[in-house]
Symmetry: none
Subunit: 329 residues, 4 copies
């Protein structure tokens, strides 16, 4: 495994990491979770990504159970959670005005405790503001993140899908008020979604040392090539709660580009998914590429992208980017 520093922090994360989004609870049960986490661990993965909203808390519960059973040394692994949407109330009809779609102090100070309980941990390594909240001043959120860290409940904080301007605002407020600064951002990043990471954030890497824990490296599966012939049964595209992805997944032009990428993959003796993963990992601004997998074999295959990374030369990278350039919004 390769390890990279999380931006300008002293913490190192494995270049490929395991995320629980979509899969844990919905597609993978407790024993599957433990099996995949163990498999990742054996491959050198030290970062496991989670969020309060994933399966409405169930994903954290499953990961907490697995961590208990696996009993690794706490210093050796890195766990995250993220806050913004809040938990869906079970049954009750009361609108949860202050605890959904917000980054206010009231919600955040309580949300961390829920995550710690579900994950059965004394502290989280990384906590993320899962989205930006235009209605809460950045300063209020920065203070809450700072206080959670001061209380020992988390080590580092960051953002997910914030604009460059919002990230810098948070960093500057923390700098000015001498608070813990945001260290990392979790953006979507893959061959069909590059603008934010490569253009919008460009100045942030040097100016504030931003690290990236990127999600959706395979564009929800589009880059596996499995949608070239339509939506297969059992795929993410066939999941009811993922219906919003269908149009994208069946985009003809993109699937055509994927078919062409398959030829490059063939020449490198790998799958197109592995090629797409290696391409993400190849960007030195990326601290870790979060992998999702619904089956152990899938995870195994994806982790093997590490070998493909070693074979990527500038010429191949140019070819890959040439084929996908027009979709790189």
């Amino acid at each position: 495994m390769i390890y990279r520093h999380l931006g300008r922090s002293g913490l190192q994360v494995s270049l490929f990491s395991l995320g629980s989004w979509v899969t844990f609870h919905n597609q993978v049960d407790a024993s599957g979770v433990r099996e995949m986490m163990a498999m990742a661990w054996d491959a050198g993965v030290n970062f496991f990504d989670n969020a309060e909203v994933y399966a409405n808390g169930e994903s954290e519960l499953l990961m907490g159970k697995a961590l208990k059973e696996l009993a690794w040394n706490r210093l050796d692994y890195v766990i995250s959670s993220k806050f913004f949407w809040g938990l869906k109330p079970v049954g009750g009809k009361q609108s949860r005005i202050n605890s959904q779609n917000t980054l206010n102090r009231k919600y955040l100070m309580q949300a961390i405790d829920g995550s710690l309980q579900r994950l059965k941990l004394d502290y989280l390594d990384l906590i993320f503001c899962h989205r930006a909240d235009p209605h809460t001043p950045v300063e209020e959120t920065v203070w809450a993140m700072h206080n959670i860290i001061e209380q020992g409940k988390a080590l580092y904080w960051g953002t997910s899908e914030w604009s460059a301007d919002e990230i810098r605002a948070a960093w500057e407020i923390a700098e000015r008020h001498h608070l813990h600064k945001p260290v990392m951002e979790q953006p979507q990043y893959h061959l069909f979604h590059r603008q934010r990471v490569e253009k919008e954030y460009a100045r942030l890497y040097n100016d504030i040392g931003l690290g990236l824990t990127t999600w959706s490296p395979l564009a929800s599966g589009l880059l596996t090539g499995k949608y070239v012939e339509g939506i297969p049964d059992g795929s993410r595209g066939a999941m009811q709660n993922m219906a919003f992805l269908q149009e994208e997944l069946l985009d003809q032009q993109k699937n055509h580009a994927v078919a062409q990428l398959q030829e490059i993959a063939h020449s490198l003796d790998c799958s197109v998914a592995q090629l797409a993963l290696a391409w993400v990992a190849h960007n030195p601004r990326v601290s870790t590429v979060i992998l999702g997998a619904s089956r152990p074999e899938q995870l195994q295959e994806n982790l093997a992208a590490l070998d493909v990374l070693k074979k990527l030369n500038p010429e191949t990278v140019d070819k890959i980017e040439g084929l996908t350039a027009k979709f790189a919004d």
Copy 2:
């Protein structure tokens, strides 16, 4: 005339102002310049926009000459210039490594003196960094802007076409180091180009009090309706050095939308250009809408958009935005 404060500054600018880009020197000569400036002045315009790069210094020379002749009270008008590209060297062969496409201290400290000389003024009201320079630290540029203001050579400074992140970086550096802060930004803004002003800058209005001096309110003429039937002689689209605009100006779908806007304009008893100008002015974030004109009658017509603004109700605005929504990148 309506006057608005330039962002959170105490300076007021007329809602419609006169810009010299494209027209001065290339399409309008000295007497035309004086005539149009006088006409604008009589309509209550108090802001006249310029830049070092416009006609490679000639635009400033013409405006300076006109100001001398018009002999208005210096307190009553507001003049700007902008720096980034540098003047094209006349004849010399030495590469101008430190004076073109830059915002470094050496260039800026000298550029302001050139503009003052050409405009025959003791000070400029507004100076802009005409583009962002990724190779000069924002801090160096902020210091130069500050020093120019400290030397009495300008009153306020701002940016043009900077990203939200870069504007905030400049503001924060100025705040931290107790320097004069950027006050305004000059972005392109019209019915076919809204994303930056409405989305990207959204947090900046309240956070730092950003003012806007918007350019190209008519999308280089596309929103006058004159390209609905192709490129007419003598139009901007027919100018050799504006060839890069042709594809855009002849875009079928956009011209179709313009044709539909014409119907709304008709119902308000105005031209489509006046409707488009009133729509820009209708956004309260806009401090001033910079008008360009190659003939006095054109300017007269555009200034009359002020009357259209009074007739714009929310329903009409919705209709206008509905027709152009899909192009509002």
Copy 3:
């Protein structure tokens, strides 16, 4: 005993102090540790130096046991530990990517708890960053040191073998962000190793009030004269894990200088070791000289250097420094 303030802090430490490096656990067992600590205590020593890495945690365990048995008043003694290398994992095979050779937040926040447990103390008086970590931003480390102090787990923090530039960086970051500043540095300092303390740190004493807890005052034994005739049995030079010292310990020219120092020592009626210790103590920048000893008599002899200090006049100091000047790197 003489007591000196630890740099510009209000804490006083005995001019000679007792360190556990090399000896505790490896050469001295539990009863020996208690005996020597008691002996030092009786001579007025109030500072006992330790580190997580010494004998991989065993040195802290032994000192903790002795402190429990000796049952001194907690206000009367000063205990340190140091963090950087991390504990060697016992058996496990997982690479400890975030807990070895690092000063990141994750490691430091956990390491302090381990030291407190092994030493059976509620708080440490002094904690040191045992080496500089070029891969963790100084700011992250300063924050962790600050937070450990805020949590009441330590009173003062400092560095060991950091460059002047790194020490100043830490101090300035703490100053800017209103955090607890580094108070002391633990450098090697003896007649054959003077450059860092006397030249490199020169400006730090007045600028930031740096205190020094110096180590290896006898150059690993070279300055005792015991290697003038080769490596004697049972000496540090004969220890397997100290093999890296042999070349240095047998250096002919240095041993020749030691022989000449013996003559000066003779004239002052002391051993050359005592002379060398007195010379270190004679530098007013030194807050305390950490002594190591494998036997009680050795410690006794070294503590007696205090009497030699009183006999050192400028002329003698000049002579001493003249004999060793060319080795004073």
Copy 4:
């Protein structure tokens, strides 16, 4: 010519530049100065280095005269001076207590005016504190540098042969008090003198964006190979005021290494001097390599090192560094 940014500033300097030390006035007269400056200019050199102390002011007088005659565009060239030693009094016996070997405010505020007069310029681009002054607080010097820049007499300031700690102290004081920060350092740097640039300053490049204008790339001529057979007539080693260099220049081991470098140079079809210059330029931390030359042909030969730079591959660099490693103090 290749141009590099001067550290993290927006100013670009040519990778090879022309220095006047030793040569101007002593070895080169007015017409020679003009000829060599013109030759450098034609090769794309835009930076010309000078100092008050060089030939006791005569070097600045000669460069000023040449600049007047060459009449280049002021925006296109970069001129430096440096202050510390002060001018030798002509005739008088009064000890100049406040104007020699100092960086106090009194001396600096006056020294800049003298340099501007001798160089016949309105402003200098770069001013250096020629050495560190342990007796003047860094803060006093930083304020003087800041004020000189605020007065418009210089654009950027830096240091020469300061320790990393002193450079950081200056930077931090400027940051804290919101003053112009030091941008560059002028250190000695060549194959026999690497420690400071490569080790001591290591953290400064990223932390404060330090740029380097390096001097003595040929080790006072040692790396030209001309001393392999002793001191030739007319060489720097034969100059009376350079007598202090003789021991170094005749060092047998170093001259042996130079002889071996000549073989590598031979294989690259260049002189050993060109090889040594290309090696310095090859370090990306170096903003510009200052060349000295007593004859036009020498300068021509040295500037041609630019072509050698293109041929330097990692393997050759390793070989070069292997041969000289033991002298790289």
